[in-house]
Amino acid sequence: MWEIEIIPDDAVLYYRVHKGYVVDGQLIPGVFKERGEGENRGMSTDWNKYSSTKEALARSRNPADNGIVSFITGEVRDIKDIVVEHAPEPDNRAHSHIKGIPPKKPMKTRIRRQLLDACKWEIKPEK
Protein backbone atom coordinates (compact mmCIF):
# COMPACT_ATOMS: atom_id res chain seq x y z
CA MET A 1 0.00 0.00 0.00
CA TRP A 2 1.15 3.54 -0.68
CA GLU A 3 2.37 5.87 2.04
CA ILE A 4 -0.06 8.65 2.98
CA GLU A 5 1.60 11.99 2.21
CA ILE A 6 0.93 15.60 3.10
CA ILE A 7 -0.52 17.38 0.07
CA PRO A 8 1.08 20.84 -0.28
CA ASP A 9 -1.09 23.90 -0.79
CA ASP A 10 0.17 24.46 -4.32
CA ALA A 11 -0.80 20.96 -5.45
CA VAL A 12 -3.64 20.54 -7.94
CA LEU A 13 -6.57 18.18 -7.42
CA TYR A 14 -8.60 16.76 -10.31
CA TYR A 15 -12.31 16.07 -9.83
CA ARG A 16 -14.39 14.05 -12.27
CA VAL A 17 -17.59 15.69 -13.51
CA HIS A 18 -20.42 13.80 -15.22
CA LYS A 19 -21.96 15.64 -18.17
CA GLY A 20 -25.27 15.67 -16.29
CA TYR A 21 -23.79 18.42 -14.11
CA VAL A 22 -23.12 20.74 -17.03
CA VAL A 23 -25.94 23.03 -18.17
CA ASP A 24 -25.38 25.35 -21.14
CA GLY A 25 -21.67 24.75 -20.78
CA GLN A 26 -21.70 25.81 -17.13
CA LEU A 27 -20.79 23.61 -14.22
CA ILE A 28 -23.63 23.55 -11.68
CA PRO A 29 -23.26 23.63 -7.88
CA GLY A 30 -24.98 20.26 -7.43
CA VAL A 31 -21.87 18.53 -8.75
CA PHE A 32 -20.04 18.60 -5.42
CA LYS A 33 -20.86 15.69 -3.17
CA GLU A 34 -19.17 13.26 -0.87
CA ARG A 35 -19.35 9.54 -1.46
CA GLY A 36 -18.50 6.51 0.65
CA GLU A 37 -18.92 5.78 4.34
CA GLY A 38 -17.05 6.49 7.59
CA GLU A 39 -13.35 7.25 7.23
CA ASN A 40 -13.59 6.65 3.51
CA ARG A 41 -16.29 9.27 3.01
CA GLY A 42 -15.24 12.30 0.98
CA MET A 43 -15.20 13.95 -2.40
CA SER A 44 -12.83 11.84 -4.47
CA THR A 45 -10.13 13.67 -6.37
CA ASP A 46 -6.76 12.79 -7.90
CA TRP A 47 -3.56 14.59 -6.88
CA ASN A 48 -1.55 15.89 -9.83
CA LYS A 49 1.69 14.55 -8.31
CA TYR A 50 0.57 11.08 -9.34
CA SER A 51 -2.05 11.67 -12.00
CA SER A 52 -2.57 13.61 -15.19
CA THR A 53 -5.97 14.97 -16.19
CA LYS A 54 -6.28 12.23 -18.79
CA GLU A 55 -5.48 9.52 -16.26
CA ALA A 56 -8.04 11.00 -13.86
CA LEU A 57 -10.64 11.00 -16.61
CA ALA A 58 -9.81 7.42 -17.56
CA ARG A 59 -10.75 6.36 -14.00
CA SER A 60 -14.36 7.43 -14.64
CA ARG A 61 -16.95 4.71 -14.94
CA ASN A 62 -17.58 6.03 -18.44
CA PRO A 63 -14.90 8.53 -19.56
CA ALA A 64 -16.90 9.60 -22.60
CA ASP A 65 -19.60 10.97 -20.30
CA ASN A 66 -17.25 12.82 -17.96
CA GLY A 67 -14.92 15.79 -17.76
CA ILE A 68 -12.35 17.08 -15.27
CA VAL A 69 -12.21 20.24 -13.17
CA SER A 70 -9.25 21.21 -11.01
CA PHE A 71 -8.73 22.84 -7.63
CA ILE A 72 -5.67 24.43 -6.08
CA THR A 73 -5.36 22.64 -2.75
CA GLY A 74 -4.65 25.80 -0.74
CA GLU A 75 -7.78 27.46 -2.12
CA VAL A 76 -9.87 24.48 -1.05
CA ARG A 77 -8.31 24.57 2.41
CA ASP A 78 -9.24 28.25 2.64
CA ILE A 79 -12.90 27.16 2.64
CA LYS A 80 -14.01 26.98 6.27
CA ASP A 81 -14.60 23.42 7.58
CA ILE A 82 -12.97 21.75 4.56
CA VAL A 83 -9.90 19.53 4.74
CA VAL A 84 -7.84 17.87 2.01
CA GLU A 85 -6.27 14.47 2.67
CA HIS A 86 -4.25 12.07 0.62
CA ALA A 87 -6.16 8.77 0.57
CA PRO A 88 -4.23 6.46 -1.76
CA GLU A 89 -5.87 3.29 -2.99
CA PRO A 90 -4.02 0.16 -4.10
CA ASP A 91 -4.64 0.91 -7.76
CA ASN A 92 -4.58 4.72 -7.49
CA ARG A 93 -1.77 6.44 -5.61
CA ALA A 94 -3.20 9.86 -6.55
CA HIS A 95 -6.54 9.35 -4.79
CA SER A 96 -7.28 12.16 -2.32
CA HIS A 97 -10.31 13.36 -0.42
CA ILE A 98 -11.88 16.76 -0.02
CA LYS A 99 -13.79 16.31 3.24
CA GLY A 100 -16.24 18.35 5.23
CA ILE A 101 -19.34 18.72 3.05
CA PRO A 102 -22.16 18.06 5.53
CA PRO A 103 -25.25 16.11 4.47
CA LYS A 104 -27.61 19.09 4.84
CA LYS A 105 -27.98 22.54 6.46
CA PRO A 106 -26.80 25.98 5.28
CA MET A 107 -23.15 25.00 5.57
CA LYS A 108 -23.56 22.52 2.72
CA THR A 109 -24.98 25.25 0.50
CA ARG A 110 -22.07 27.56 1.39
CA ILE A 111 -19.42 24.95 0.72
CA ARG A 112 -20.95 23.98 -2.64
CA ARG A 113 -21.02 27.64 -3.66
CA GLN A 114 -17.41 28.16 -2.63
CA LEU A 115 -16.19 25.00 -4.35
CA LEU A 116 -17.91 26.13 -7.55
CA ASP A 117 -15.94 29.37 -7.39
CA ALA A 118 -12.68 27.60 -6.63
CA CYS A 119 -12.60 25.15 -9.54
CA LYS A 120 -11.73 25.54 -13.20
CA TRP A 121 -12.22 23.37 -16.25
CA GLU A 122 -9.44 21.09 -17.43
CA ILE A 123 -11.43 18.81 -19.75
CA LYS A 124 -15.05 19.56 -20.59
CA PRO A 125 -17.33 16.57 -21.16
CA GLU A 126 -18.33 15.87 -24.73
CA LYS A 127 -21.94 16.79 -25.47
Binding site: V23, I28, P29, P106
Partner: protein, 146 residues
Protein backbone atom coordinates in the same frame (compact mmCIF):
# COMPACT_ATOMS: atom_id res chain seq x y z
CA UNK B 1 -49.04 23.35 -1.63
CA UNK B 2 -50.47 26.65 -0.41
CA UNK B 3 -49.18 29.25 -2.82
CA UNK B 4 -50.41 32.78 -3.38
CA UNK B 5 -50.78 33.28 -7.15
CA UNK B 6 -50.44 36.89 -8.25
CA UNK B 7 -52.54 38.24 -11.11
CA UNK B 8 -50.16 39.49 -13.75
CA UNK B 9 -50.45 38.79 -17.45
CA UNK B 10 -47.32 36.66 -17.90
CA UNK B 11 -48.23 33.14 -16.85
CA UNK B 12 -45.97 30.34 -15.80
CA UNK B 13 -47.74 27.07 -16.45
CA UNK B 14 -47.07 23.42 -15.93
CA UNK B 15 -49.32 20.82 -17.52
CA UNK B 16 -51.94 23.48 -18.21
CA UNK B 17 -52.05 24.71 -14.61
CA UNK B 18 -50.96 28.26 -13.76
CA UNK B 19 -48.20 28.08 -11.16
CA UNK B 20 -47.57 31.80 -10.87
CA UNK B 21 -47.79 35.00 -12.88
CA UNK B 22 -45.24 37.76 -13.33
CA UNK B 23 -45.26 41.44 -14.28
CA UNK B 24 -43.49 42.66 -17.43
CA UNK B 25 -40.57 43.87 -15.32
CA UNK B 26 -39.75 40.23 -14.54
CA UNK B 27 -39.93 38.80 -18.05
CA UNK B 28 -36.32 37.61 -17.92
CA UNK B 29 -37.20 35.63 -14.81
CA UNK B 30 -40.05 34.02 -16.71
CA UNK B 31 -37.57 32.96 -19.41
CA UNK B 32 -35.22 31.50 -16.80
CA UNK B 33 -38.09 29.56 -15.27
CA UNK B 34 -39.25 28.21 -18.61
CA UNK B 35 -35.67 27.13 -19.29
CA UNK B 36 -35.53 25.31 -15.95
CA UNK B 37 -38.26 22.91 -17.05
CA UNK B 38 -35.41 20.75 -18.36
CA UNK B 39 -35.10 19.57 -14.74
CA UNK B 40 -38.41 17.74 -15.01
CA UNK B 41 -37.13 15.81 -18.03
CA UNK B 42 -34.15 14.31 -16.17
CA UNK B 43 -34.62 10.57 -15.91
CA UNK B 44 -33.47 8.41 -12.98
CA UNK B 45 -29.72 7.69 -13.24
CA UNK B 46 -29.16 10.89 -15.21
CA UNK B 47 -25.67 11.10 -13.67
CA UNK B 48 -24.70 7.49 -14.27
CA UNK B 49 -24.67 6.97 -10.48
CA UNK B 50 -28.34 6.25 -9.79
CA UNK B 51 -29.34 9.88 -9.21
CA UNK B 52 -33.04 10.35 -8.65
CA UNK B 53 -35.44 12.18 -10.94
CA UNK B 54 -37.02 15.48 -9.85
CA UNK B 55 -40.63 15.83 -8.81
CA UNK B 56 -43.03 18.42 -10.15
CA UNK B 57 -43.71 19.37 -6.52
CA UNK B 58 -40.16 20.54 -5.80
CA UNK B 59 -39.99 22.46 -9.09
CA UNK B 60 -43.33 24.14 -8.34
CA UNK B 61 -42.18 24.96 -4.80
CA UNK B 62 -38.98 26.55 -6.11
CA UNK B 63 -40.72 28.49 -8.87
CA UNK B 64 -43.55 29.70 -6.64
CA UNK B 65 -41.08 30.98 -4.05
CA UNK B 66 -38.80 32.58 -6.62
CA UNK B 67 -41.68 34.45 -8.25
CA UNK B 68 -43.15 35.63 -4.96
CA UNK B 69 -39.73 36.66 -3.66
CA UNK B 70 -38.90 38.58 -6.85
CA UNK B 71 -42.27 40.36 -6.87
CA UNK B 72 -41.79 41.24 -3.19
CA UNK B 73 -38.33 42.65 -3.92
CA UNK B 74 -39.67 44.78 -6.78
CA UNK B 75 -42.71 45.99 -4.85
CA UNK B 76 -40.67 46.83 -1.75
CA UNK B 77 -37.52 48.35 -3.23
CA UNK B 78 -38.63 49.33 -6.74
CA UNK B 79 -35.67 47.42 -8.17
CA UNK B 80 -35.71 44.49 -10.57
CA UNK B 81 -33.78 41.62 -9.01
CA UNK B 82 -30.96 39.94 -10.89
CA UNK B 83 -32.23 36.99 -12.91
CA UNK B 84 -30.94 33.76 -11.42
CA UNK B 85 -30.05 30.44 -13.00
CA UNK B 86 -32.17 27.51 -11.87
CA UNK B 87 -30.50 24.12 -11.73
CA UNK B 88 -31.09 20.59 -10.51
CA UNK B 89 -29.52 20.24 -7.07
CA UNK B 90 -28.46 17.43 -4.74
CA UNK B 91 -30.88 14.70 -3.62
CA UNK B 92 -33.84 15.84 -5.66
CA UNK B 93 -33.54 19.50 -4.61
CA UNK B 94 -33.44 22.65 -6.74
CA UNK B 95 -30.58 25.17 -6.73
CA UNK B 96 -31.14 28.84 -7.55
CA UNK B 97 -27.95 30.76 -8.29
CA UNK B 98 -27.67 34.54 -8.56
CA UNK B 99 -24.24 35.45 -9.84
CA UNK B 100 -22.90 38.82 -10.96
CA UNK B 101 -19.66 40.74 -10.38
CA UNK B 102 -21.22 42.10 -7.19
CA UNK B 103 -23.27 39.16 -5.94
CA UNK B 104 -22.87 35.43 -5.51
CA UNK B 105 -25.90 33.85 -3.85
CA UNK B 106 -26.96 30.21 -3.83
CA UNK B 107 -30.37 29.13 -2.53
CA UNK B 108 -31.29 25.45 -2.21
CA UNK B 109 -34.91 24.32 -2.15
CA UNK B 110 -35.20 20.78 -0.76
CA UNK B 111 -37.70 18.27 -2.06
CA UNK B 112 -39.15 17.66 1.41
CA UNK B 113 -40.52 19.99 4.09
CA UNK B 114 -37.09 20.96 5.41
CA UNK B 115 -36.24 24.69 5.29
CA UNK B 116 -34.53 26.10 2.23
CA UNK B 117 -30.91 27.12 2.81
CA UNK B 118 -28.89 29.96 1.36
CA UNK B 119 -25.34 31.22 1.27
CA UNK B 120 -23.97 34.32 -0.38
CA UNK B 121 -21.37 37.00 -0.50
CA UNK B 122 -21.07 40.36 -2.19
CA UNK B 123 -18.26 42.41 -3.65
CA UNK B 124 -17.84 44.23 -0.32
CA UNK B 125 -16.75 40.96 1.27
CA UNK B 126 -19.95 40.58 3.27
CA UNK B 127 -21.05 36.96 3.68
CA UNK B 128 -24.31 35.50 4.85
CA UNK B 129 -25.92 32.11 5.20
CA UNK B 130 -29.09 30.82 6.76
CA UNK B 131 -32.33 28.98 6.28
CA UNK B 132 -35.87 30.01 5.54
CA UNK B 133 -39.41 28.72 5.27
CA UNK B 134 -40.35 29.35 1.66
CA UNK B 135 -44.05 29.58 2.58
CA UNK B 136 -43.62 32.20 5.27
CA UNK B 137 -40.56 34.42 5.24
CA UNK B 138 -39.55 37.95 6.11
CA UNK B 139 -37.88 39.88 3.33
CA UNK B 140 -35.80 41.80 5.85
CA UNK B 141 -33.98 38.63 6.91
CA UNK B 142 -32.98 37.64 3.39
CA UNK B 143 -30.25 38.84 1.06
CA UNK B 144 -31.58 41.00 -1.76
CA UNK B 145 -30.37 40.00 -5.21
CA UNK B 146 -30.02 43.38 -6.92
Amino acid sequence: MNTKVSEYKNKIELNGKVIQTLPDTLLSLQKAIEKSKYILDLQPNWDGEDAEAYTENVWIKAVAFLCEFSIDIFDTFGKTPVTPSIYHGPEGSIDILWKTDDLNLLLNIPKDDQPATFSGENSLGQEYEGSLNTNNYSLSFLPHPF
